[in-house]
């Protein structure tokens, strides 16, 4: 018998492979197209004299006011950069301990039954549309927190940050739990065999061994928090104030785009400015991803050695 393959023997396989390849390429092309579109709409700020009458790159960093529609429009990005930072940090401070605590609990301490309960419940949280979460934060949580803590403003960065925290907990939990579950059982056995308690084993062995994956989970959550729009649009009070105070109303970069792009004069300085904010968000998310990869690789080789 000849070893030559018959003509159509692997036709099915090559069709499937070809399909997958095309889908992957299309996804990549889509990302690039979006990027180039945003880039193209931001570029007039740098090169178009007419647009530059209204807005230049320098103006983004002058003053502390974002007032794009007024007789003397002001385009300082500082208040909304501050808003994004504040809300993101508050969300992480709230979400990271909860998500990682839950992941550690369900991977190390919960019995099989409880584990099978926690996982779907947290993942259910991921299924809540962000507009519903925002609605909840706007109507119920804001009043509740205001009454308890006696805040001056119902809608503020803390309120939005906590709501945003709920939005990113499932993703962080899910990725962190996968990382913890991937830690070999032999590490746990070794630790217990040396007379470590289950708690010590979880915190001193399992968590550090999963650190590359867990830190990637946290940075992924951070990327999500920076990019999330609806929750912060509804829950933060939407006032672009330049303030460090977390209890004042604030507005994020994403909420600014969402709130203003619908009514902006097409082709105006304001229009291009909004695209520039989009470009900035794109870049920030990209940089967070880069940091995440670098951190993952760095921790991997520190913990598991340089040899491959």
């Amino acid at each position: 018998m000849s070893l030559k393959k018959t003509r159509f023997k692997y036709l099915g396989e090559s069709l499937i492979e070809g399909n997958i390849k095309i889908t992957a390429i299309l996804a990549i092309i889509a990302v690039f197209l979006i990027f180039f579109f945003i880039l193209r709409e931001s570029l007039p700020i740098f090169f178009n004299g007419e647009v530059q009458q209204e807005i230049t790159f320098g103006k983004f960093f002058q003053g502390i006011q974002w007032q794009p529609v007024s007789d003397h429009p002001r385009f300082s990005l500082w208040p909304i950069i501050m808003g994004s930072l504040k809300v993101t940090m508050i969300a992480l401070v709230f979400a990271v301990p909860v998500a990682i605590g839950a992941a550690l609990y369900s991977s190390e301490f919960a019995g099989r039954r409880l584990k099978e309960f926690i996982k779907p419940v947290v993942e259910l949280l991921a299924g809540i549309p962000s507009v519903v979460l925002g609605f909840f934060a706007l109507i119920i949580m804001a009043s509740f927190l205001k009454n308890i803590f006696g805040w001056t403003y119902r809608l503020n960065a803390v309120n939005a940050g906590i709501a945003l925290g709920f939005a990113i907990i499932p993703a962080i939990y899910s990725l962190a739990e996968d990382a913890l579950n991937a830690v070999p059982k032999s590490f746990r056995e070794a630790a217990l065999g040396l007379g470590a308690t289950p708690w010590q084993t979880a915190v001193k062995v399992v968590l550090p061994a999963a650190l590359p994956g867990v830190s990637a989970a946290v940075l992924f959550g951070m990327g999500r928090a920076v990019g999330e729009t609806m929750v912060v649009l509804m829950a933060a009070g939407n006032a672009p104030l330049f303030s460090l105070n977390p209890l004042e109303s604030t507005r994020t970069m994403t909420a600014t785009i969402a709130a203003e792009l619908g009514e902006v004069v097409f082709g105006s300085g304001h229009y291009h400015a909004l695209f520039f904010i989009g470009l900035t968000l794109f870049t920030v998310t990209f940089v967070i991803n880069l940091i995440s990869w670098a951190l993952f690789d760095g921790l991997m080789s520190k913990l598991y050695g340089a040899k491959k």
Binding site: G193, L194, K302, L303, G305
Partner: protein, 255 residues
């Protein structure tokens, strides 16, 4: 049977995985500062028996035990036994080297750090050095104590694991086929090490390798299908086995 001082004794011991009986009526003495080998065909319950001595079987769902394991006359399966303390007295080395993804230093210091009173840095360094020397790996790693233990070869990793077990100053060391994942040279080093360690420690070693049992052990327990077929001095067992089953096994007729 005269075996010297017996600090460890297994008495009418049965173990079940759910309904399945894995160990049946095991009774044996484990003499102090000697090497006791547990041999037998694969799946006969060697690892199960070994892990019963420091209650590592508890991690597995559905394990129940009957009978006693006595350490200095005290049954370790009593309700109020502190398992953490037990495991500090009865250390364990596993079949596959399993150093933590931490530095060599942190691996060896781990057990001590997890204890109630963590010594000062200098004392800790002494403990690490002493343990690495005892495990005959100091010279190979002394210049790279703060590099990841995962970078070492399998044989070196296994000696790190032994050093890690020694650092908490156990009385008994359990070893489950500690050389089965290693090449012959690394195996020889481990065997040499075991030979020296018995001056200070009581060692129980599982092996499926008859020659290894003959080389390193003073006493041998032969297990089959969860039952103890024969237990006695290794030399006698190898030259003049008391049972037909043992003889068949050591002459390689099965297993």
């Amino acid at each position: 049977m005269q075996t010297g001082i017996n600090r460890l004794e297994i008495k009418d011991f049965n173990l079940y995985y759910h309904r399945t009986k894995a160990l049946e009526d095991i009774s044996m003495m484990i003499p102090e500062k000697k090497v006791t080998a547990i041999i037998g065909p694969s799946g006969c319950g060697k690892s199960t028996l070994l892990r019963s001595i420091n209650r590592m079987n508890e991690m597995i769902d559905g394990v129940t035990v009957e009978g006693q394991v006595l350490l200095d006359g005290e049954d370790i399966y009593q309700q109020d036994i502190d398992v953490v303390e037990l495991r500090r007295k009865v250390g364990m080395v596993f079949q596959r080297p399993n150093p933590f993804p931490k530095s060599i230093f942190e691996n060896v210091a781990f057990g001590v750090r997890m204890g109630d009173n963590v010594p000062a840095k200098q004392k800790l360094e002494e403990v690490v050095e002493r343990s690495l020397k005892e495990a005959a790996i100091w010279d190979e790693v002394k210049d790279r104590l703060h590099r990841s233990a995962m970078e070492l070869s399998g044989g070196q990793q296994q000696r790190i694991c032994i050093a890690r077990a020694l650092a908490v100053e156990p009385e008994v060391i359990l070893m489950d086929e500690p050389a089965s994942a290693l090449d012959p040279i690394a195996t020889a080093k481990i065997e040499e090490l075991i030979f020296r360690l018995k001056e200070k420690y009581t060692i129980v070693i599982v092996t499926h390798n008859m020659q290894q049992a003959a080389r390193v052990s003073d006493f041998t327990a032969f297990l089959m299908l969860g039952k103890l077929v024969e237990f006695g001095p290794t030399e006698k067992m190898m030259t003049n086995p008391g049972s037909k089953l043992t003889e068949d096994y050591i002459t390689g007729r099965f297993g």
